[in-house]
Structures are given as C-alpha cells and as structure tokens.
C-alpha cells in the first residue's frame, strides 16, 4: 500500500482557537501525510461530509471551548452512522483528564493535550491507522 495517509483536521463548533490545529496540520503534512484542513466553524454534518468526500483515514478534531463532550461525540456518532467505522478519530485541545475515558468510549481513540510533541501525534497515527 503506497497511498499516503489522508487526514482531515477539523474545527467543530464556534471555537476560533486554531493555533494548535494549524500547527498539527502542518506537522502531519511535513511527516508525509495528505492533510485537509476544514477551516473554522464546522458542524458535525460538514465534518463528516468532508471526511467522506476526501476519503480520509484519520479525522483529527481540535476544540478549546470545552464543548468537546457534545461536539466530538456528535462527529464520532455520525461517522459510524455513515459507515465510516474504519476511520481513526483523534482529538486535541483543552480537555480535562476525567473526560478522556468517556471520549474513548465514544470512539475517539486518543486525546492529545497541550504540550504534546507533534511527533507523538505522527507516530500514533502511523501505528494506529486502519
């Protein structure tokens, strides 16, 4: 399989903090992945539609507003509903530790908080992409 890993980096909801999402998008691109960045203010429908259209292997969600329990889960549920079960979903942002197990249960495989080296995200994706 020579196809490059395709990643959708997405900003769900109204949150405008995009420093992290952009840095990660660029780091993944520099690591040889095909990266599509949605831009801001995406609904779950828009993100899932983009994931289908772009036929991605990974969806990376970034949120700093605190609405992750609603919005990350919305995306995960909708991806499953649309038959995108094999997409690896990861998340990042300001996410309290106690929310992480709950997110994992909903299908967000890993959560990367502030201070994560970009390399960790790259190697996680390479290891876990389906």
């Amino acid at each position: 399989m020579n196809r490059k890993i395709r990643v959708l980096v997405a900003k769900p909801g109204l949150d405008g903090h995009d420093r992290g999402a952009k840095v990660v998008a660029r780091a993944l691109r520099d690591a040889g992945m095909e990266v599509i960045y949605t831009g801001l203010h995406q609904t779950a429908d828009m993100i899932v539609e983009a994931a289908i259209q772009e036929d991605v292997d990974v969806v990376g969600l970034s949120l700093l507003s605190g609405a992750h329990m609603t919005l990350f889960v919305d995306v995960a549920v909708l991806l499953k509903k649309k038959g995108m079960d094999d997409v690896l979903i990861i998340g990042g942002g300001i996410i309290p530790d106690e929310d992480v197990p709950k997110l994992k249960k909903e299908g967000i495989s890993a959560v990367f908080g502030p201070g994560t080296p970009c390399e960790d995200i790259v190697s996680y994706i390479k290891k876990n992409v389906k």
Partner: protein, 558 residues
C-alpha cells in the same frame, strides 16, 4: 546624546574588555549557546553599553512620564499616584453563577470587572440557536438579552466599578445591553465607565470570532466611537488588541506591529466619517499580551506608547490625551502548561511583573489551571494575590519606569519600533490593512511563527519547564471548576418566557427600524438601544444585521 569623546573612550575600553576579559574566558569555557535569541528570534548581544543608545536624544526620544512621546508612561506619577486596575477576565455558565464570581473577586480586592462571554454570545447567537449546541457557558457566560445582563450585574455598583467586555462582532449590541441596564437602574450614561473590545480587525487576523464582512463591521465600530464620544464619555469604545494575535502564535514584534497598524486603520476610518480626532481618540484603548521573555515584553510596551504618540500626532491629534496609549495587559494563556500546573503561578508572576514594569493601566493575571479548564475559585484567588504581591510587596511601584535608561531596554525599545515600521511597509505594499487580511498576510506570518516555535520546543531548542525538560512521571491532580448543569435549561426557559411576555409588536417595530438604518447610512446605535430596551434578544438583533450585511468567510491558511 552622549558626548563623542566620551563615546570613543567607552568604545576603546569595551574593545579592551572583550580582548582581555571576555575572549580569554570563553576560550576556556564556551558560553552555553553559540547564539542567544529572545522569543522573537532576535539575536541578543552579550552586553549593552552607552554605544548602543548613542543616537538617542533623551528629551526628544525618551522624555518624561505623562509627556510626549509618553515612552516612560502615560501619567506623571504612575503607580505612585494610583495602582493599575486589577481586572480578572471571568465568565462561565449562567449569569447567576458569573455574578457570584464577580462578587467573590470584588470581595477579594479586585478593582475592575472583565466579562468573558460564551461562544454563542460572541457570535451573536441566542442560547437556543442550533449552532449554540454544546457551547452554553463553556468559554464564558451566556448573555442573550437585557434580562441576562440585569442578572449578571445585579447588586454590583456599576456607577463605581468599571467593566471591560470582551465582545467584538456583536459589540454594539452587548454594549447596548449594558447601557440599557444602567439606564433602567437610574444610572446615567455619562457616568458609567468601562471598555468594549470591539476590535474586529484582530478577529479576522487571529481570534476569528467575526460575524460580518470588514466594511459593515468597520462602520458599526465607527458608530460606537461617534455615539460614545457624544453620550457615554467615560467609555472606551475600543480595545485594540494584540493579545489574541500573540495567542494565535505571533512573536512580540508581530503583536506590536499588527496591533498598532490596526489602531491607525480605525483612526483613518473615523476621520473619513468626519469625526474630530481629539473627540474620539482619548477613548481608544489597547490590550497586550505578556509572554515569557521578560525584557522583550517591557520594551514592547514602551515602544508601543512612543509609536502611538508619534502616529497620532501625524494623524492630526492636538491634545496630549489623544496621543497617549492606555492599555490593559493579560499574561499569556498560551504559555501555561497542562503539565505541573502549579508552576504556572511562577510564570504568571514574572509576566505580570513585566506588564507592570512596562507601565500597564490594568492587568489580568492568569490562573494556574487554565491549560486544563476555566479557573477554579482558588486558582483565580492566587492569580489575584500574585498582582497584589507585585503591587504591595515588591517595591517596583516606588518609581516611574524603573528600567528607563537601561542600555539594553532602550536599545531593544528602539529595535522593536524599527521592526514595527518594517512590517508596516510590507502591509502598505499589499495595499493596506484590509487587503493584507484578504490576502492572508497576517494569518500566514502568524502560522509560520507558531509552527517555528512548536518545532523549537519539539526539538528542545527551547526549554519549557515541565514539558520538554524537568518532567514528572506522574502529573499532579488539581481540582477543576464544575459548572451548574441546570444553567442551560434555566437560560432556555428564561428566553422562552421573555419572548412570550414582552411586547412583541414593539420588538418587531424596533427591529424593522434598525433594518432601515442598517440599509441606509445613519448611526445604528440609537436603533440598537431601542431594540434591546424592548427586550429584543441578541440573536434577533444580530440576525437583522446579518440579513443586511451578510457574513464573513475567511481564507484558510496554515
């Protein structure tokens, strides 16, 4: 300016010192790094001497505090006369919860209020709008109508305490809530004091909570300048902000250059409207970040004051009051670590000290837990105590601009000013501020700087204590703020009742009048005030303007 002969002597001695002292030392033991750089990646020399500031004319370039070019401060007495305002940015959940937090902060010695709104409010949506899903009260307090504003400030003396509100896209409407609330409480518009952020340019550049396209947004802002200077004279109708530019990943120099560039742009738009510069300029205020590089931050504030004074003079200001730059500072949220959160207290203390040594008019010190969640009561109390220690114990308030005259600080101040003008030249070549935004110039500059910084941390070129060095195997647990889960339900119920019980015909009439005004070229503020007085909601009022003006969509750049 230093005497030429004296300068020659210093130069000779400096060369001697380098040869006989310094060089032999580093031959035996090299310095820790080949090159020392500050946070903006500017090289810093090993030593600064009178040679580095030999071109400075004290009276012309530095001068005295409270006098042009205000490099040393905006008041003659600075903190000897009055301390800065201790103003903690706060807001979460419902208006009831946040009202309690404000009272707690005021009880603990805070001297001004600062409102953080939740995302739906920042985008002009009511809590019951579909796009508000999951966001209620998460990043700030929800204010959907005058009713919420009444609760938010109930039992708070808004005739005495000043309030800053971080609101941009719908700033005119939220300001109208505040004015209407004061009027209903029998407090005149002439005496209420505070600030609305109202800085849309930095939203396009960095923070991204914009609503309308640039032109109508600028019109709304000039409307508030005009209305404020006539009717709400103690209100700062804008807080031109570098804070969010920095948080988006810019360097200190970019923060300085882009923010002041935005400031000049606002003034030009107001002049074009025909406003008198000496009427509106005294109410322009600024807002900066205070990041980790101590001296760079101090130099940034000092340079900002001098550049602003010069530019305002060029733009035709006559009154000193129009030329002096007053600013608020907040310590850098993006510098806080989720790892070993308690050590953020130390970072914040240093950043707060830099802001004070730079002559800030008000200060927010971040809480240690902000890389994890909104601040807990304990964390915010420690943050407030940090500024109180700087104010009451450190002795730095005893004299004005204590670092003035430092060879290094004065050199760096000049250097940052020069780099600012270089950035302005580049923006000018792109056709000005708005074309530069449309072409993604700022966004690209910031994205590059933030990527470079992250790489330097990943590669351990820069050390972040607790993150890439001095790590713990097990991170300590700290308690996180819990919000009232019933808040959202209560808020939606309140909106429902409001829409049922108000005079809906009057609301319709007022919204219709606002629509007409927006389609024409009248000042919209009086119409917005009528709308909010009749309890039209934020979402309803904003929707009228959305229909007339359309919505902005940004170019995606990373």
């Amino acid at each position: 300016m230093i005497d030429k002969k004296e300068l020659e002597k210093i130069k000779k001695e400096r060369i001697n010192w380098e040869k006989n002292c310094y060089d032999s030392l580093i031959k035996n033991k090299p310095e820790q790094k080949e090159k020392f750089e500050n946070l903006s990646s500017n090289e810093i020399k090993k030593l600064y001497t009178p040679e580095d500031i030999s071109n400075i004319d004290y009276l012309k370039d530095i001068g005295f505090p409270g006098k042009y070019p205000f490099l040393r401060g905006v008041h003659a007495t600075m903190y000897r006369g009055r301390l800065w305002t201790m103003r903690q940015f706060a807001g979460f959940g419902s208006a009831e919860e946040t009202n309690k937090r404000y009272k707690y902060l005021l009880d603990h010695g805070e001297t001004g209020l600062s409102v953080a709104f939740d995302y739906p409010t920042l985008y002009g949506y009511d809590t019951d709008h579909p796009l508000s899903r999951g966001e209620f009260g998460k990043c700030g307090v929800a204010v959907s109508s005058l009713k919420d504003m009444e609760i938010l400030f109930s039992d708070i003396p808004i005739d005495k305490v000043t309030t800053s509100m971080t609101i941009n896209g719908p700033a005119a409407i939220v300001w109208a809530f505040y004015i209407a609330n004061a009027e209903n409480r029998g407090i005149s518009k002439d005496i209420i004091g505070g600030t609305i952020q109202n800085d849309i340019l930095k939203e396009y550049i960095a923070q991204k909570s914009y609503i309308f396209p640039p032109e109508p947004s600028m019109r709304l802002i000039v409307d508030t300048f005009e209305y404020g200077s006539k009717h709400v004279p103690r209100w700062n109708t804008i807080s031109i902000s570098g804070y969010h530019i920095r948080e988006a990943g810019s360097t200190a120099v970019q923060e300085l250059a882009f923010t002041l560039g935005d400031g000049v742009e606002y003034v030009k738009w107001a002049l074009e409207r025909g406003l008198d510069i000496d009427k509106f300029a005294p109410r322009l205020s600024f807002f900066f970040n205070s990041h980790n590089d101590f001296f760079e931050e101090i130099a940034k504030y000092r340079a900002a004051r001098r550049i602003w004074a010069k530019e305002m003079k060029k733009l035709g200001a006559k009154k000193p009051r129009s030329m002096l730059m007053r600013f608020h500072t907040q310590t850098a949220g993006c510098s806080l670590t989720a790892q070993q959160p308690e050590i953020n207290i130390v970072r914040v203390a240093l950043q707060g000290l830099a802001a004070v040594l730079g002559g800030t008019q008000s200060l927010h010190t971040n809480s240690m837990d902000e890389a994890l969640a909104l601040p807990s009561e304990k964390a915010v109390r420690i943050a407030l105590r940090t500024q109180q220690i700087i104010a009451e114990e450190s002795g730095v308030t005893n004299t004005v601009d204590p670092l003035g005259g430092s060879y290094f600080i004065e050199w760096l101040t000049d250097e940052m000013e020069e780099q600012t003008y270089k950035y302005w030249d580049r923006v000018e070549k792109l056709g000005g501020v708005l074309p530069a935004i449309e072409k993604g110039f700022y966004q690209r500059e910031i994205a590059q700087a933030s990527y470079k910084y992250q790489k330097e941390i990943d590669e351990k070129i820069r050390t972040v204590v607790g993150v890439n060095e001095y790590k713990l195997d097990e991170e300590p647990d700290i308690p996180i703020l819990k919000m009232d889960e019933k808040g959202e339900e209560r808020q939606i119920k309140r909106l429902e009742n409001l829409r049922k019980n108000r005079n809906n015909q009057k609301v319709e009439r007022n919204l219709e009048k606002l629509k007409k005004a927006a389609e024409g070229d009248e000042n919209m503020m009086p119409y917005i005030l009528d709308c909010v007085h009749s309890y039209a909601t934020l979402g309803e009022t904003c929707q009228i303007l959305r229909n007339v003006f359309g919505e902005y969509e940004e170019p995606v750049i990373y």
